[in-house]
Subunit: 512 residues, 3 copies
């Protein structure tokens, strides 16, 4: 226990006293007598936390009581056979090994690194538990994650000047005079609700402030960019990411992470309709109809027995074994590990980038984009054919658990054709855009702020992307056809053409 002053010591004694009386009630609603007998010990510090928080934020304490963290210790977790392990550290410190993973165990890690550390009721507490803290036990997962595009999601959108201009054009407050529109820079708060709600904020400690709580006045760190659970959050301990993005709140549930609703917090239409497409696919249909007969908690996850159709996690990152125990795919928290092509067009679909940090890419136009305006990939920064084949083989291995080889081959051949054709439809719109710029109909200085420019963005960001996700999951024909699909690709091209011609006429510009 880290005590910082005499005054505080006294408080703690009182709280422990309170805890003694209260703790026997903990979770009485949901744990059987036998389970209670098997409950691991809580550290004295965590008992103190719970004593108060059971009264002041009871929901979060109860949530934790539903977690595996509250029901096991790192020492027990490390004894499991290799494939059943949910913890990848080979050892943990003695002070952690034999207690349940409680409040204090997580919120007190690495205080020296945490600019958000503060003295709370006599304990040195971090507001934010970061991936670096989680890596105490989940070492491999955090390591894998740190290489992913998700870990770099803040940089990738905010530091990259092209995307930064796009973000700014969309989210800045506009003012109008006559028909003239001017834009200011977006506020951090609005960004935190739109783009970086998913990508993650930069959490900065501005100092300390005093707040009024049910326990009275308290001194707490004054954070900006908080709260936020975006996947690329820049934490005040220098780490990146937010495990709670997918393992929400204090249940740290593998069940929740394996259900598609979790991915569906961010991977949504119109730009990334992965979740929307999944729901309407055959896989999604079987999931929504039969999930109540499945097991979302088993490790490893047994194909056919724990589930009879994949969720997002099955194909993209879970450890999957066959009913006879054969490993079909290894777990990875680098969510690109089974991906060879990037469906998400920037502005064209392209091979996955080598590094999760995409700000380092330079295309032949000198811009930090994975493809040039005319379509050539920035190959130096993208994975090569061998790496593509390696990753595709892992994914095909998952497909092959239920589908035969010819089915799978035909499926991916179809997807390749879709990538080619949607890239062509993006190119068609880009040709119109280039023509409009060249004739002075719109101004390329900011390529994202005028009407025809916004039509062009929709072509690659909404419509081409939607069709590719529908193709990848052989599902959701609406997203391939009438809803942001081929209908929209073709309609939008006609709208662009008409709008170019109308604006040319209005401006007195002669088109050939």
């Amino acid at each position: 226990m880290t005590l910082v002053s005499k005054r505080v010591k006294k408080t703690v004694v009182i709280l422990l006293f309170v805890a003694a009386g209260i703790f026997v009630l903990t979770g009485s609603g949901s744990i059987t007598a036998q389970e209670q007998a098997e409950q691991p010990k809580l550290s004295p510090q965590t008992q103190t936390c719970i004593a108060c928080h059971k009264l002041y934020t009871p929901g979060i304490v109860e949530d934790w009581l539903t977690s595996r963290h509250s029901k096991t210790t790192p020492a027990q977790a490390m004894k499991k056979p290799e494939l059943e392990r949910r913890i990848s550290a080979q050892s943990v410190s003695e002070e952690l090994a034999d207690f349940a993973v409680g409040c204090y165990e997580c919120h007190s890690r690495n205080p020296e690194k945490h600019k958000d550390n503060f003295v709370h009721m006599g304990f040195k507490i971090n507001v934010i538990v970061s991936p670096n803290d989680c890596s105490t036990c989940h070492t491999e997962e955090v390591k894998q994650y740190s290489d992913s595009k998700k870990a770099h999601a803040w940089d990738n959108i905010i530091v990259n000047p092209v995307y930064h201009t796009l973000v700014t054009s969309i989210t800045g407050v506009k003012k109008v005079e006559g028909t003239k529109i001017t834009s200011s820079d977006p506020t951090e708060q609005t960004l935190n609700e739109s783009c970086i709600a998913c990508h993650g904020t930069e959490v900065r400690v501005k100092g300390t402030k005093s707040i009024k709580t049910a326990m009275g006045e308290m001194q707490v760190p004054d954070l900006s960019g908080w709260p936020n659970q975006g996947v690329g959050r820049k934490n005040p301990d220098g780490s990146v990411g937010s495990c709670t993005a997918c393992h929400p709140r204090h249940s740290f549930s593998i069940e929740i992470a394996r259900k598609p609703y979790t991915c569906g917090q961010c991977h949504l239409e119109p730009d990334v309709p992965a979740y929307n497409v999944y729901k309407e696919s055959k896989h999604g249909n079987i999931f929504t109809s039969k999930w109540h007969t499945w097991n979302f908690n088993n490790v490893p996850w047994v194909i056919g027995q724990d589930f009879t159709a994949p969720t997002c996690a099955t194909c993209h990152n879970s450890l999957i074994v066959s009913p006879t125990g054969k490993v079909i795919a290894q777990r990875s928290h680098n969510f690109g590990a089974r991906l060879w092509v990037r469906l998400f067009g920037l502005i064209y679909s392209h091979p996955q980038p080598k590094s999760g940090n995409t700000t380092i890419i330079k295309n032949k136009d000198g811009l930090p984009l994975p493809t040039a305006f005319t379509g050539e990939p920035a190959s130096e920064f993208l994975i090569d054919k061998d790496e593509q084949a390696k990753r595709k083989a892992i994914m095909v291995g998952v497909c092959n658990s239920c589908h035969n080889t010819d089915w799978i081959n035909n499926h991916f051949a179809k997807m390749d054709n879709t990538i080619k054709e949607t890239n062509e439809m993006t190119a068609a719109a880009t040709n119109l855009m280039t023509y409009a710029w060249s004739k002075g109909i719109e101004d390329k200085t900011n390529p994202f702020d005028e009407t025809i420019e916004k039509m062009w963005i929709k072509q690659w960001l909404f419509y081409s992307n939607s069709i590719r996700y529908a193709s990848a999951m052989t599902g959701a024909p609406d997203y391939a056809a009438f809803k942001n699909g081929w209908w929209s690709l073709s309609e939008n091209l006609q709208n662009m053409k008409d709008h170019i011609e109308l604006k040319a006429k209005m401006k007195g510009i002669i088109l050939k």
Copy 2:
């Protein structure tokens, strides 16, 4: 039993005889022997109803058998401890107290008030069971409801001349000659499927009519505006509302009302995407992943034990207690009781109105709108800072069950910023609109029927609103970003600008 003629008396006797034989079968499929033993008695009248309706509308009888109404009596319900009571009347009449709450108990209330009362198989039956009838037992709930905006939803949209013009412009059938478009007034039937499907119809008794049924020819009241279950329905007994809007059909289920799908019948994109946003929020993710482990029937509803993330009802109206039995929020059927700001812009976001009846509001332009065209709130008709603080404190109390004070403060500061900025984006579009009107590009006589006017409506009704709901629930970044969010706010402004300039050119109007 209310008998009206000798002929009818005879029918009833026969039916009771039938009932004697049939009733033992009731619900055999779903009730255990012990439960059957504990079943409360049914009134003789209700037994008669069931004897026939079990044959003629069996689904609804079975639905009722799943209800608490079929399994308890008002007398038993009133004996429960205060917090566990689901009935707020202090006493009920003797004729009701010791019978299950069956068909006759509800469909025979206050016949003198019911213009829809008719003689049906010898009984004086009301077609519609109204909130006033439900208040026999659920007195407090109906009283609370009567002060809500929901109770006045019909008046608020149909009587208010501004909204009435909007409704009419949208739902009237149009005719075309050349390029001239003319509109007729909407039919009541079309209104009943669009705006007042949710807001509620005015149910009028036009007389009596004869219909052919499986039981032969029957005389029944001839109702207009029926069927409908809108929240502000004007009932033929003079009352307003429809309890079945949220407690559907004959199960009168608290479980259904507490699930978000119920609110999701009406609170939908693009104008009020509360349900859409919830589903994609962190709260929604936890609900969709874990609801099968929760208890939706407990009264009071225990935070953390009955559920680990809120549904709509948790934050907005349910009686919530902590695991130690402390009341966190009192139940209210005035759904604005915990709301201080009205996110729904008319045309700007504003403090909640004092009265559920918003037709009485006058803004500084003399219009029945809560804000002026230039943004000033009609403060006289809106709640003041004290009342706002009082209501916000209740909501914050619910948040505080799981979230700490600083988290909550930052959350609502972010929401306040969003309200300010979306109001500014509404103002920007309003400036463009005013300019277009002033230049004669469109005609303000009806401000809702031309192309640019419809763009302007989308700015405040669809896009500003969507972002505010996403902000309030820290969720659904698509609704804040690309789907009806900031993307749409900015794109729409550019579209308005271009359309104004194109139409000016077409009409030969010179813009400065």
Copy 3:
């Protein structure tokens, strides 16, 4: 067992040997000891299939183990009382009667008809199990289905020259030069992901090819249009349809088919938002809130006891009985059997066509469309008033299980009014379109490829249709109002008007 060579015979012996050891493990995860004792015998051929596929495609074997096919034999299935039967054949051949319905039983049917038959590990196997194969046991269902529009869904969209032009205009890749847009014909692969993903592909056997599998090199049929599970798939045995469209994969589940998610694979916004509307309707609300207490497997399906609100299957095709065993509606796999009016406008709503094959229709303009451009139905090809009344009576019978006669009458009167008014709104847009064509503003040669033409398509294909589905289910007021509903119908008409006037001005065309 069909052996084709000595080499193959040897393989089979080895595989049977493998099977002997492996089969006892089958499904150990999900079947109790007693169930295992009651398990029907597997044919020797199916045992052989499973021996390998348990290793190579384990998911699909496990999926089949969850099916009724794996747990019963045709002989047992035929012994059930009439209403409980899930098999409509009066007899099956001896070789099938007493074995579970396994891999070989289905994939070896009618090899002489199957151009996709090939020798696989010594067995003559069909890649595709077609409706004609399923009819071995499910005779009536396949017969009913063959009369439906679904069975003809490929012809209806691909052979019909009008719809073919629409399909081609949408899905063909476009090229751009200046502002000139040219379109090529769509590829089969893109069609297979958009229109005919649902309608079904034509599966052609192009020859034989060699593929690399986990078992080594294999010779397999080279199929085009595969994989696909569209409802009107043209199979290589000459049959049409795909039972797995609704009874997915190897569980052949009645539960899945009865849940709305199955219909929701195709019946989606913006053109056919039946599923979207259902979810937001009162019926949908009750389903999503209470399905976990229902029984989706019972045959017959008991209204009120197995479920308390309908899913798509309840109203459209399931065998429904009352709790007392009275048949409310007979099962039909002709999904139009309870439909009298076709809500889906082509371009106007109209009586259901007499034949599922709609390519034979000729309207008064000489086009293969059920209505003329001016609205007159092609009555000769549509069902008459008597047939309409007959079908409506079946549907009303289902409604009547829960709703009274007057409620139902009012409901359908409202729907009739909606059909009339949405037809009028389609006519208004058609008048604008005709005017634009007559003035040379757009070119009618292809009526589906220019901007104003696309606006006109949205009027009847998206907006009028959405409102009709919302009307039919008294639900989803957003689809009737602001989301693709009356808002869109009225806004789109204004947009068409403005665009016609702007293009006229641009082209120097004088409008009266």
